[in-house]
Symmetry: D2
Subunit: 273 residues, 4 copies
């Protein structure tokens, strides 16, 4: 389904009934990435998937460039309004968490719980420079070049080697897509939109119970990033997944569902032990 945000179409999908859960994509992902998760997330919950602007089946926004997360935060707010949701659970990974955190800090009253996979509180100069390499590779127009620059580092070496056939199959799917200027230009814009991301000053006011998940082989948003988040947040909980990289939802999908749904669907807010 689609709705209009400032004359741009935003694509979303809704499944099931129950406490609403919106899953927010990482940069190179789209609503399609979550197909294997729909059954679990819509079993006891209302699941909402959405493509950010410049992602998947939502509108490309070259005309609005340069933009930053602010526009995606407003897309998310418009989506809540469109669906008349007054209280949502947000589950995000990477880029999706950045938007989720900015949304949660700005619209506290809309947020029930937060589940944050593979993320950080701000774009460090280190991460920003890695993003420069990605964009330079994208600009060459060679899918293979963009692929090898961005993809291996997203996965843990363990998964990459253990599932080498799957990875080699991904090359075949992604080489053409990564050569498509329409796609790569959008990726470049999305990557640049994170450049000034810094939610640190806002975190101390965040009240929503928040589950932070770090992956021990995440080499883009390493554990130190999640530890910083945990220290900055009042009501935070923290779990680590060993032997997993930045793309934790691909590497350990069952743990992704376990953690997100387990945390969202517990009813007791604070146990008196």
């Amino acid at each position: 389904m689609k709705f209009n945000f400032q004359n741009k179409e935003v694509y979303y999908e809704v499944y099931g009934q129950g406490k609403p859960v919106i899953i927010l994509n990482g940069i190179m992902m789209s609503t399609k990435s979550w197909v294997p998760f729909i059954e679990d997330f819509s079993c006891h919950n209302q699941l909402i998937l959405v493509d950010f602007l410049d992602q998947g089946q939502s509108c490309k926004i070259a005309d609005l460039f340069p933009y930053d997360h602010d526009i995606q935060v407003r897309v998310l707010k418009a989506l809540c309004d469109e669906l008349k949701l007054k209280k949502v659970n947000l589950v995000g990974i990477s880029y999706g968490v950045e938007v989720a955190l900015e949304f949660a800090c700005r619209y506290q009253e809309y947020v029930d719980k937060l589940v944050l996979f593979n993320t950080c509180a701000y774009t460090t100069p280190w991460l920003d420079d890695i993003g420069k390499a990605w964009n330079m590779a994208a600009e060459t127009g060679k899918g293979e070049h963009y692929y090898y620059t961005a993809i291996p580092i997203i996965y843990s070496p363990t998964f990459y080697e253990g599932r080498l056939d799957w990875m080699r199959n991904r090359e075949k799917i992604l080489f053409p897509l990564f050569s498509d200027k329409n796609f790569t230009d959008a990726m470049i814009r999305l990557t640049k939109s994170s450049s000034n991301y810094d939610v640190r000053p806002l975190l101390k006011d965040l009240k929503a119970p928040t589950l932070i998940i770090g992956a021990e082989q995440d080499y883009l948003t390493p554990l130190a990033n999640q530890e910083q988040l945990l220290k900055s947040i009042k009501n935070g909980f923290y779990v680590k997944i060993p032997d997993v990289g930045h793309a934790s939802m691909y590497e350990k999908p069952i743990l992704f569902s376990t953690l997100a749904l387990g945390f969202i669907n517990t009813v007791t807010e604070e146990y008196k032990v």
Copy 2:
């Protein structure tokens, strides 16, 4: 409620409806330890709590001493039969996991999923010798002595210091109990019943999806123990909780529920990503 196992009363409680979940106690615990968890575990599930023989409101079994886990495994089987349960999820912590693993290896067809907190595949000489110190302290009859020998090492230093009032309150509750020969004799027997525990040869045949949870400050069953379990099990998943000790259910109850219920209530067995 109670049922008879070889003329010994076994105490148990049942709450709610849905996929059945049996929670299995650590040595010094009882059904009462789980009061704060009842709401969450009975919300979408049938929760069964049980006191092992020599625990809580179940029968003391000095007359059967020496015994090992085998008797508790049979208690668990008898409980399933009593409740006419053909397929259960087992959630255990420490001693409870040891029994759960032996049960699961012996009665595979009865087990749906396993959730294992703070545990190991066998009693190492190191852990066995620590148990000797506990029992020697218990035998002095001085609650204070038993308390300081066994309790601090069960908690993470982080929790112990951060919740010092709660710990000091625990001293008041536990000093008298730990001076009660009836109680300490049962604890001594339970501790000794783990001495010959070794489920390693059986693990390779275990088929149940199994979530293994390690706590980074667990100084009785340290992370290396859970890593060994993970390597030995076909269908295992692994998560670590930072800054938490052996008594993870006391230190991070919300994570305990999140992980156990999240894992048990996901329906998809294997995601095709």
Copy 3:
């Protein structure tokens, strides 16, 4: 050799020539514990070993009880004066580091470099309560009881199980010693002398280059303690030894020498890379 400190004999040994290195014992250790290290430490350096009061061949000080680290700090100062040492390197483990840090903060000008194994900046309530269990066990007069309470937790499970013959041999050596009231009373006093240890307020002024070594299976002064030290010290360096416990010098003697001598004998204070 011996010298007098307030009419109490202090035992020490001196080997070799070069930059002076004083090694400071953990509680249950003595100059004898370092015999295997003498060759390496005296090869390019002057090595000084010393028994604190109430340790090894130094005087017992029941008459001065209760005392705290202050007296050992003054013993160390007296030793420097006795040997006319104006600048020393201090290598300590556990209790020895506590004294080393207090000495270094009080007599900055006497300290060249510090090497700190398995230690903390203050005695937490958690560690203090563990100490209570040790002392209660010591007071029973049963060597076996004291042994099982204190010893297993000092070693990593890896070492304990891997070197089980060595550990069983240690039982034979230590059971009689740990039953000797003269010895255990001294141990009780030493343990109590750490109870009020807290060097945190002084650390920010410490100038000596300091190498902090944490052992990943140290369950008495866990890694978080060393991380706190590192953050509090201006000129600190940090290394971790995996699979090793609190008694790192017994478990990995070659790494002990490598780290201590490597750090002390580098001449460049700060590299301009």
Copy 4:
């Protein structure tokens, strides 16, 4: 100084006297990278620095391409012969370790001790694919592109952000060099020469005492690589440096010297504790 290897000039430097230590460079390094280390390494030891073929002031070998490590192993052997060294200590980082390990397995009798920083036992498909991205970036001829692809990931985020001025200064130095086809072609050849690296089958026979150093933020040869090495080697020792990346010698030079010289200069081979 230079010597001839198959009509190619190999550049090397020699400093000091004592047990000989050869330091072996990572791919983008050269003898010049070690200037700050010369004082410490030549203080008690004979230090030998060397540029591999295609590195620094040694000969470029486009005419021999494709080649693999074998040629560098023979260069190293020729260097030993040139200097009439019958027993050397090898200290390597990254690429340098790969050559050191192959040399040590082939010429056991020439090797005293090994010190291995930031390395692996074989080139995984994951690492190989990252190398492809580096080479594609190098081939664009744009120094900036090659820099951002290869450099950030070599350093820990902690160092990169904490020493941002130093990093920005490195950009200025390296952008022109990384645009120089002569240099980048050599780098491409060196990177490709690692592609078939696999020393695993040979490790079990290695007898030299070996110190393996892992850096916790090494995202090219992560800790799992060093753990695999440790398990494969008979006489291995293992230490971790927290908060440090793949370029550990730049990030913590004092620890580099401490570990290398400390390990090499201990005389006792095995302590009898």
